[in-house]
Symmetry: C2
């Protein structure tokens, strides 16, 4: 059971009618064995697919007798001749042929597997992750990993051809000021000190621009110690780019061509360039979201003016306190939503801070709504005109401060589209969202904070407002959105010391504080920093969306659970006291076990 | 100073005589400015190289006056027309032309840099690392990083074309039993538990073979918390491969073609296949090393038989205690080594455990040596015959137990070759070393330990000796050596449970211990594991050698010092108490500062 006597000449899934008559050797796994009419049939599987092997006493008694021992997932090597199959199996590419075995070698046996090796096996994800090596034998998972590898290759080759240089930046680096929570790594050689795993190569890629690399990229692991969601992992992979001597249009242009290349070469889909753009402001006004899914309508409409003098106090009082009343028109689907359905939509709206959800159905007889009575004919007419309301429509209203209105209606339009099955999985809708606000006011800290990061450049025409109305300053920042998911984002960076100094002032940092937090970058900026900017894509999420998967773990070979553990290796685990002592740390927790 | 008004149409270093008469725009850094004869000359630098810009009042007074402000490393954009240069500079590719500037934009200023931006600047490495972003502006460092990126690309494209799939394995994983020291990462969500950063993806790549990926590769960061040497870093990059349904020859064959491709495409050097092979035993006997530099001779010769009855007690007593007497003939260079030189060689031999170094010079008059008197004419004749000693040769003898003889003479032959300048930097000598011992006896632990790792397969013909004479069992393990440096290594793995069980017995593990240490891999092996094996190359070291650099830090963008610190970012650094508390750990060291 040690040496392979029969080495493969072909891969199982590649054999065709054209090969009939050929002598072939194959290696692989027994997918299934059936004994029928004095013959033994084996579906043999390798990475390329399946093929049927037939064992016949009259051809080789020895091989037949060995074949009687075969069980599922046995690893075998087989030699034989290809024949046309009598009963064609149209479900597999090799279904027109079969191989009559002349010799067989059992390379390894297999115990009964704890999960079935088939795509539609309905087993808990925890069990799938514990036996990931079996789960990855499924053709769907193999396809996903091969596809992921292909996408990475397309990206690398495209960027290399465009003159980008892949430079590896450190994994053991310094803790990030003002970022998410870091993973720390105790240093043995430097007692009491810690490395941090990078949240992104942001500072290093800017330093590479200072160093004159001009066009940098990297496909690189990044780390954030945050609580997990379906599309988040403690470690994730970024396609990270940075360019010098560029402005927004240059970055967007090369990345549009990158995306076009990926869609074409990975999916054979032609996407039209330029990719549609929305300013942040327009995205919020029309979709209530800075990452709108634009595969469908149901856009937000402001009806504040139309209802400001109505008898409906919920609306008028909100407006008097500076709020807004907006609506979405689920046009044409009014009859799909019962009162119960609308109540469940209201529950969703409430999770986003709305106090309630008002609604109107437009019918041939007029408006049906519990709140219709509070409005005059003229007001109702105005509402219908603003929303283009027709018989069969459903209008959903949220009245609140602007952010709550956006959040609630933005999610409601998505929820309605989901329930109506309007999200076409075969449609890929790309969108740039640009002109993000540079700053957000942090109520807790009582100061402005950078929405992107403190090195993001303001739009040239807004620089003057930095001192007067900072909240109105737009950034040279952009996100790329695919079907309502942010798949990447970036910005043009500040490269002038004066502007950077002004930015820190707006953020409320003294010069000392700024220096303490970002000293080595500020120092670098003194020695001739070129204009630069870049972008980073989330590779995991991009691949997940390209593959129409709902869960990021479907495109990662060995992912962590929502609890940041690995059921396969049982990582993380307890460390030896000796290890910890060498690292000059101790645990300050009582072991649960 | 925010927007680029003059965007590059060309790159500086690409302009040629053919471009004369063209209007071009360039972006880059001021390498040097000279004011001469009423004109201002600027050497403009970008990633592609240098070109000369001339500012002439008569062409643009405005540009000329701005140019008067230019200092070294200012970032500028310039537009002008290309002319034939009057005084040609043969040292740069663009030396035949120059650009008369019609407009200039100063994109950024620069303070005087703490290190010069030129390749031959003789400055301390610590200062170079502190200002790495300036150090990387040097054309030699840019060349190194671009070359490294190119090598990685060649490897990826070759392996992809060969059907290897790049699969990313986890960075946050489980501590390695029986390996080097791990870097640990405390888990916040799982108090008291730790992830480990991978020393290699070894277990995961074997699991990927169990999962039927068949051909895997990855260019991946690995981590070892060991004390550093010139060619070691805490984090390093491996080209990691694994294949199923293969034996040694298959792995060696594909990797030979990979190396041929790398040498051809990166250096335009044709290497001859197959690559030469030596068994471990032969490598040790002939060169005293398992990674011999075979660019030169000076091979080891055993003279034990010839001297066993001599009057030289140092030799005879060593032989009586089971030791060996071996020599290397520094043939033809006897007159290059004075007594003082030989004494310094003896000091080196002593650092490898030798008690002394005996020597003989062969001259036209016979043998000159302090120990000649202890040997008969016949014995001396035998020695000369065995070593092919001729007039002008120097023989160096070490008498000791075998390992000390190998270590001392192996290093002496290398040292002698270095002093004689015989190591041709333009020669690349590749060598496979095969048939490593499977096991080593660990005197401290009083048991056998795996020389490679416990999953390395024994040679088929040696399996029977596992129970009788384990120390004689050879492994299906191989290293690839380039000019005396190990640049990669791997093995065929055990894939049969029975053989694995026997291996653990030899290693002195009970079944429980084996399960505790390698449980999840043993579990995986039960479900149909294919024969498999692989290799890993050290990318940093490979690139260093291809570039003829002596120091691995020359091919890493942001390396650590020997003390595992980063002078640029000051990583590692102290962490907030709050951070440590969240991670359920505390430092048990007193801060030095």
């Amino acid at each position: 059971m040690t040496s392979i006597l029969i080495k493969r000449t072909h891969e199982c899934g590649t054999l065709k009618v054209q090969n009939i008559g050929e002598q072939v050797s194959l290696n692989g796994w027994v997918q299934k064995r059936r004994d029928l009419g004095g013959l033994i049939f084996v579906d043999l599987r390798d990475r390329s697919g399946l093929v049927q092997i037939v064992f016949d006493k009259d051809i080789s008694l020895e091989a037949f007798e060995m074949a009687e021992e075969l069980g599922s997932e046995y690893v075998i090597a087989v030699r034989g001749k290809i024949y046309k199959r009598q009963s064609i199996n149209p479900n597999i590419p090799t279904g027109e042929i079969e191989i009559f075995a002349e010799s067989l070698q059992i390379l390894n046996t297999a115990e009964t597997t704890p999960i079935y090796i088939k795509d539609d096996d309905d087993v808990s994800e925890n069990l799938r992750l514990k036996y990931r090596y079996l789960d990855l034998r499924k053709s769907s998972m193999q396809y996903n990993l091969i596809f992921r590898s292909k996408v990475a290759n397309i990206v690398r080759n495209f960027l290399s051809q465009e003159g980008f240089i892949e430079v590896e930046t450190p994994m053991l680096t310094k803790t990030t000021p003002e970022g998410a929570r870091d993973y720390l790594v105790p240093s043995r050689v430097n007692p009491g000190k810690f490395f941090a795993l990078p949240q992104s190569p942001q500072l290093f890629k800017q330093l590479l621009m200072v160093s004159g690399m001009e066009k940098y990229f990297q496909i690189v692991k990044c780390f954030r110690d945050e609580d997990l969601r379906a599309d988040r992992q403690p470690e994730f992979t970024q396609i990270d780019c940075e360019m010098s001597f560029v402005d927004i249009e240059d970055v967007l242009a090369v990345n549009e061509r990158l995306l076009k290349k990926v869609f074409k070469d990975a999916l054979d889909i032609d996407i039209q360039l330029p990719i549609e753009r929305l300013s942040y402001e327009e995205a919020m006004e029309r979709y209530g979201s800075d990452k709108p899914d634009t595969r469908f309508g149901f856009e937000l409409v402001d009806v504040s003016q139309a209802v400001k003098d109505s008898g409906f106090k919920v609306f008028t009082e909100t407006l008097q306190h500076g709020g807004f009343v907006k609506t979405i028109n689920i046009n044409g689907y009014g009859d799909k939503f019962s009162r119960k359905d609308i109540t469940s939509l209201e529950e969703i709206a409430k999770t986003y801070g709305a106090k309630g959800l008002a609604w109107m159905k437009v019918t041939d007889e007029g408006i049906t709504s519990p709140i219709a009575k509070f409005f005059s004919e003229a007001e109702l007419k105005d509402i219908l005109q603003l929303t283009n309301g027709q018989a069969g429509d459903l209008l959903l209203f949220v009245a609140d401060k602007l952010q709550v209105v956006y959040d609630a209606l933005g999610h409601l339009r998505l929820e309605a589209a989901k329930r109506l099955d309007l999200l076409d999985r075969n449609e890929y809708k790309l969108l740039w969202v640009t002109e993000f606000p540079l700053l957000e006011y942090d109520e807790e800290d009582n100061r402005y904070v950078a929405k992107h990061h403190p090195f993001t450049a303001p739009m040239d025409e807004d620089i003057d407002m930095l001192e007067t109305t900072p909240e109105k300053v737009r950034a040279k920042a952009y996100d790329i959105v695919l079907n309502g998911h942010e798949i990447g984002g970036g910005s043009i960076r500040i490269f002038s010391s004066q502007l950077q100094q002004k930015m820190f002032e707006v953020l409320g940092f003294s010069q000392e504080e700024a220096w303490e937090k970002f000293g080595f970058l500020l120092e670098a900026f003194k020695y001739g920093t070129p204009p630069h900017g870049g972008i980073a894509f989330g590779l995991d999420r991009l691949v997940m969306l390209l593959l129409k998967e709902d869960n990021i773990r479907q495109v990662i070979a060995f992912p962590k659970t929502q609890n940041a553990t690995c059921p396969l290796t049982n990582a993380p685990s307890y460390a030896d006291e000796k290890q910890l002592k060498e690292l000059n740390i101790q645990s300050i927790t009582t072991k649960e076990s």
